[in-house]
């Protein structure tokens, strides 16, 4: 019942537990009774955290929770502690270039299997009418391009991978 919550650049570890007829939230040793009412006709719900009350809108999409409070929307990502650990220890983190922002693939400048030097342009993406070159971040061999020319992608989508270098 413990989870890792990410809101923008803030990470919070929290636990949900039963508390009388309802629930409590425990963060950093501090525990507060919490409650979320069912949605009213307009979709709004009443959130209670200790003595505070908020009118909120909540929607979920996979491991993301979207909450609007006081006219401001937030995305909260929920991660199981085990997953956090697995990511932190991921080997070969330099294998794949991911999209810095959503966009479209304009051109691909190399072939899988090709030897490339650091700084060489591997592909060109376009976002908001601006073209950005994805350059090789080290010397190596192209493993695969994950998208074809003309395809669109979201932020963080894998673009191109290099082969793992064998230990010298």
């Amino acid at each position: 019942m413990r989870r890792h919550f990410e809101i923008d650049d803030t990470a919070i570890d929290a636990a949900l537990m039963r508390h009388g007829d309802g629930y409590a939230l425990e963060v950093g040793g501090e525990r507060q009774a919490i409650d979320l009412s069912p949605p009213a006709a307009d979709g709004a719900r009443t959130l209670r955290v200790g003595d505070r009350r908020y009118r909120v809108h909540v929607a979920r999409d996979g491991d993301a929770t979207f909450v609007q409070v006081a006219g401001r929307s937030f995305a909260i990502r929920t991660i199981e502690p085990l997953t956090v650990f697995a990511h932190a220890g991921a080997a070969n983190a330099d294998l794949t270039a991911r999209a810095p922002m959503p966009g479209t693939v304009v051109s691909i400048r190399a072939q899988p299997g090709a030897r490339i030097a650091k700084g060489e342009t591997l592909m060109v993406i376009e976002s908001m009418k601006l073209e950005t070159a994805i350059a090789a971040w080290r010397d190596g061999t192209v493993d695969a391009f994950h998208l074809a020319v003309g395809q669109t992608f979201d932020r963080d989508a894998p673009l191109v991978s290099l082969l793992a270098e064998t230990a010298e």
Binding site: L47, V67, V69, T78, P102, M128, F153
Partner: protein
Amino acid sequence: MSRIGTVLIANRGEIALRILRTVKASGRRAVAIFHELDAGSPAVREADLAVRIDGATPVAAYLDGAQIIAVARDVGVDAIHPGYGFLSENAAFARQVADAGMVFIGPTPEAIDLMGDKVRARAFVAARGFPVAPSAIEDDDPASFPKRARALGPPLLIKPAAGGGGKGMRIVRDMTALDSEIERARSEGQRYFGDGRLYVERYVERPRHIEVQVLGDAHGNVVHLWERECSVQRRFQKVIEETPSPALTPAERRDICDAAAGIARAVGYRNAGTVEFIYGDGAFYFLEMNTRLQVEHPVTELVTGRDLVADQLRIAEGEALGYGQGDVRQNGHAIELRLYAEDPARNYAPTTGRIARLRWPDIAGLRVDSGIIEGQRVSAAFDPMLAKVIVHGADRTEAIARARRALTETVLLGITTNREFLDRVLGDDLFAAGAVHTGFLDERASQLALPPPDHETLMALVAAAALSDDNLRAEADAVPPLYAAIGAWRN
């Protein structure tokens, strides 16, 4: 010219829906075209007929004039409305539509050509006595170009002759750098537009962007529908537009609007167009003319009470405008906010996602022109503008208050937008004072940045996320309360 019974709308998103509504409300049939990414969009749902188009990229589909004309012929439409962007300022497309026996709802190809060539347009306007910024044009005499540029004095703005969208423009404040900046601008012009020719203008520091809506008919009637102030911009793209401009005195307003109508008359302009000016230090200069309906046309509609698309349709049918300048009044104040799928905190980088929830509020004076619906996926394939929140009030103060209420009460979940940022801008002291210019957002970036959520808000967000997570709740339910309590005290 005969009545237009069926209109194909060669566009997408909010503007396709906005045009479609007037087409249908005036008793005409509306045909939508769509790329498969837009299959679930509101315009496709509301159209009398929707036809799928394809392309190498989604954008390419909407730029494929031949394919669109073929669709229009197949289904038998009388006219094509291009909206804005895409094919709207493509003179060749306008000619092809006419050649195919249909009506292009917009100006003549000649007017599009003239105004599309920035140097020619500028010379045309200057020759007829309208104000343009002091300038030097390379083509007039290439050998003396640097000397003539230097004679204008700083600050200068170097622009590519074939340019647009702010690309290749360079500001020169230190005249010793003039020669090297000319070379840099030339190579950028060559790279972006395949044309290295340049011109140089006197640069107006902290300029305002003020534009004037015009309408002309086939009978020589031209009216203006007053100005719009569009100075709040990021990356040369407008974010907030309003009318009337808080900057103009009544005399300046009359002069700038008369100049716009005069320019339209000189061009023999037909249909809807916008004359853009740079305004600063009490003077205004012609910038360019956009030969189409603008994104921000609704603010004009709210203060004048006119439906510009309805007027476009009547003009395209050959009808006379039917009203004169004296009939066009500015009533109250209107503001438009462009809701973008972007993150202002990450240098306005575009965002993607699924619209998980969407509710527009019910507020007096509010109009929403939206191309999105709940459940829709927003991809990076198109322009990031999702919708326009437009408000009308008795005066500017009331319009700002209504706009802020509209933003706060809109429920929009699932994708990061500039909604909160727009509210910060509306709440800014300088914006409230009307003291804006095209560099305003950059200059005020630190004041406009959203503060991070405080501790209480973070706890509320985590609580909402935890309580709406069925798996997490089930795990908590499985642990007896006493044991859970002990577990927590261990920390």
